[in-house]
């Protein structure tokens, strides 16, 4: 298994009461309680933010030391729920402060880039500098990302697919060549940095429930990372992935399945539950609280699909107690959480498991303690369970990085 650590790197020092209230100078479209898009950054505390960034770096070092295989980093914009405004910047910091772990990007929002070649170059630099440790997650980005970065949601999916195609070609086809696409036109494609990994870094596609995105990942044989989906939704996701993979001509396995699990571990159950409450900050909406038309703006996907997506987001608003019972949040001592993780592994069979461990206002000391307990007690047990269940990560079976790569391998049998 590939076992990864993750935190949203929340800006937990913002004044919550300011978000709860409406201020006379608020934008007229803001509602009381909104914490994204129109929640004024006058509430951003620069000194506290600097402290939080530095604490995260200490924690990331510890994550490597205790034995995780990877550190996952993501990117969001326009709200205190995530201080990673650029996935590649945090990745670069991780390249510098770690030596072994994979850097799992989850990921770069492709449509936000007006020149995808610049992104191809940045990822290539990271892969070269890290000695090939980059997993290049690619995403469409959420609604707030489109609004804050002024990217038209109507063309989001088209831009995602075209940018992906262009980046892969830039990494795999010798330049110079010209790209005359629908959304991107590049006069000379000839980047003089190419990734160390050949033909290119492993790609991963994170997502929630969009069938189009699952199908995209499956068509390319890229691992899909389910983001905190319910047990039932996760099973449906894998069933659909398997179906599309079969149509594409291969059999999907654990190496194609990833899962982001909200889990907190502490010395006592009481402390773990108290810290797990922080998964419910912002009413449990881990991408912050905002208007539905920001989260899923018109054109981002079809009308029905957006309505379904909003329904799924609302599911996060259920109480901590309900989520603990459903297993969508796991909290406790190492002994308590291991059987619950085992249940998820047995039921959904992922080869990539990401522990979304420290959220909201969980302090540095508790985060460090959680990381240490995970490393000392949880990871070894999970690895054993993974072996028993034959849950292999992509590298363990030397899986090709894509279906195209599989087809180019002479005598390749396994995708």
């Amino acid at each position: 298994m590939l076992l990864s650590y993750f935190t949203e790197q929340p800006m937990s020092a913002y004044p919550e009461q300011a978000a709860v209230n409406l201020s006379p100078d608020d934008h007229p479209a803001r509602h009381a309680g909104d914490t994204i898009v129109l929640f004024s950054n006058k509430h951003f505390d620069r000194a506290e933010a600097s402290r939080l960034y530095q604490e995260r770096m200490v924690e990331y070092r510890a994550v490597e030391e205790v034995g995780f295989d990877a550190i996952m980093v993501n990117e969001h914009h326009g709200g205190p729920y995530c201080m990673n405004a650029r996935c590649n910047i945090t990745s670069a910091a991780l390249v510098a402060i770690t030596e072994r772990v994979k850097i799992l990007q989850a990921g770069n929002p492709l449509p936000l880039w007006d020149n995808p070649i610049q992104l191809a170059e940045e990822i290539a630099m990271l892969d070269l500098m890290s000695g090939g440790r980059i997993i290049a997650g690619m995403i469409r980005g959420g609604g707030p990302e489109q609004i804050i970065n002024d990217v038209n949601p109507v063309y989001n999916r088209d831009r995602f697919e075209e940018a992906h195609e262009l980046i892969i070609k830039a990494w795999t086809t010798p330049g110079p060549f010209r790209w005359d696409g629908e959304h991107y036109q590049v006069r000379v494609v000839n980047p003089w940095v190419l990734p160390l990994s050949e033909p290119h870094p492993r790609i991963l596609v994170p997502g929630v429930s969009s069938p189009e995105t699952i199908a995209f990942a499956a068509r390319h044989a890229y691992p899909f990372l389910g983001l905190n989906t319910t047990l039932e939704a996760t099973k449906k996701m894998w069933s659909y992935y398997h179906e599309v993979a079969a149509e594409a001509g291969y059999e999907s396995g654990p190496q194609h399945r990833g899962y982001l699990m909200r889990i907190h571990v502490a010395e006592t159950e009481e402390k773990a539950i108290r810290n797990a409450e922080e998964f419910m900050w912002m009413l449990g909406e881990f991408t912050g609280i905002g208007r539905p038309h920001w989260v899923a703006p018109t054109g981002y996907s079809g009308f029905d699909s957006r309505m379904a997506r909003l329904k799924n987001i609302k599911n996060f608003s259920v109480s901590l107690k309900t989520q603990l019972e459903a297993g969508t949040i796991i909290a406790g001592t190492p002994e308590q959480v291991i059987p619950k993780i085992k249940m998820w592994l047995e039921e959904t069979r992922p080869g990539i498991l990401v522990f979304h461990a420290n959220e909201g206002k969980v302090d540095h000391q508790s985060s460090m303690s959680c990381i240490r307990l995970m490393g000392e007690e949880v990871l070894p047990a999970v690895r054993e369970i993974g072996k028993e269940l034959e849950l292999v990560g992509p590298d363990e079976v030397d899986a090709p990085v894509s279906l195209a790569h599989a087809r180019s391998r002479v005598g390749a049998q396994q995708v």
Binding site: I147, D150, V154
Partner: protein
């Protein structure tokens, strides 16, 4: 009842009502769920052709459509296909932007231009509100001077099929007018190409395009006349339909009387 004009690029729908000389009306970005009182008032004097702009109502949006000028070109070809003598062109809100762009491309089919709270020109003071930040219902409500008029025209709860139509319309507006928000950096310069008599009308309490923007249009089109209707928001055609119809009728009469003299 909708009629269809078959253009080489796809169908364009329109409806017609009333009797008399023809006028053409281009709608706002949000269409009222019910019948338009403005079109009904206008139909007392004219045969009113209301075109569904490509991407709105019964006119599909061509996948390649990227900006308002292309939308105006399709509209112009729709107007040609109606095969009418030159007639007044009235544009409401977003449709005002399209109407102005049509007239910059070809004056020959337009006898008079009436622009009601038009989008399209960057206001010197204030800014055009950003539809993306508001829900469909909030946006429709924002267009009224008197919030109670929202309930009058849209009802207590928006039916899902109406919401879907509003969403479809917003998708087209996003597709062609995402950036810059609701205007073109070039339109003001192009307006000098319009040679037909032009009337600009604005609601005094327009929360979507600031009423002061009327001055920007007047600067770009020195021969245009401007009228402000008090106690009306962006959706002048809903809040002051009879007054607006009278202004349009009076303007057309005045220019055509001048032509006879």
């Amino acid at each position: 009842m909708k009629h269809i004009l078959e253009l080489a690029t796809g169908p364009v729908a329109y409806s017609a009502q009333g009797e008399g000389p023809a006028v053409i009306v281009l709608h706002r970005d949000v269409v009222s769920p019910g019948d338009s009182p403005f079109l009904a008032a206008l139909a007392q004097h004219y045969e009113v052709y209301a075109i569904d702009l490509p991407g709105f109502g019964a006119s599909p949006r061509p996948a390649w459509l990227r900006n308002v000028t292309q939308l105006a070109t399709l509209t112009l070809h729709g107007i040609k296909a109606l095969d009418l003598p030159p007639c007044p062109l009235i544009g409401l809100g977003f449709g005002g932007w399209v109407a102005a762009d049509v007239a910059t491309q070809d004056n020959s089919l337009v006898s008079e231009l009436v622009l009601v709270s038009p989008w399209g020109v960057k206001p010197t003071n204030g800014e055009i509100a950003d539809f993306v930040l508001y829900s469909l219902e909030e946006w429709a409500s924002l267009g009224f001077h008197d919030p109670s008029n929202y309930v009058t025209y849209c009802g207590d709860g928006i039916e899902p099929d109406v919401l879907r139509k509003w969403d479809d319309a917003r998708e087209t507006v996003s597709a062609v007018a995402w950036k810059p928000i609701g205007h073109s950096r070039q339109l003001a310069a192009m307006l000098s190409l319009i040679s037909v008599p032009t009337q600009v009308v604005w609601g005094s309490d327009d929360a979507i395009v600031p009423p002061g923007c009327a001055r920007d249009w007047a600067t770009a089109m020195p021969t245009a006349t401007t009228v402000v209707i008090n106690e009306a928001g962006h959706q002048v055609d809903l809040e002051a339909p009879v007054r607006l119809s009278e202004i349009v009728h009076g303007f057309i009469n005045s220019t055509q009387t001048l032509e006879v003299k």
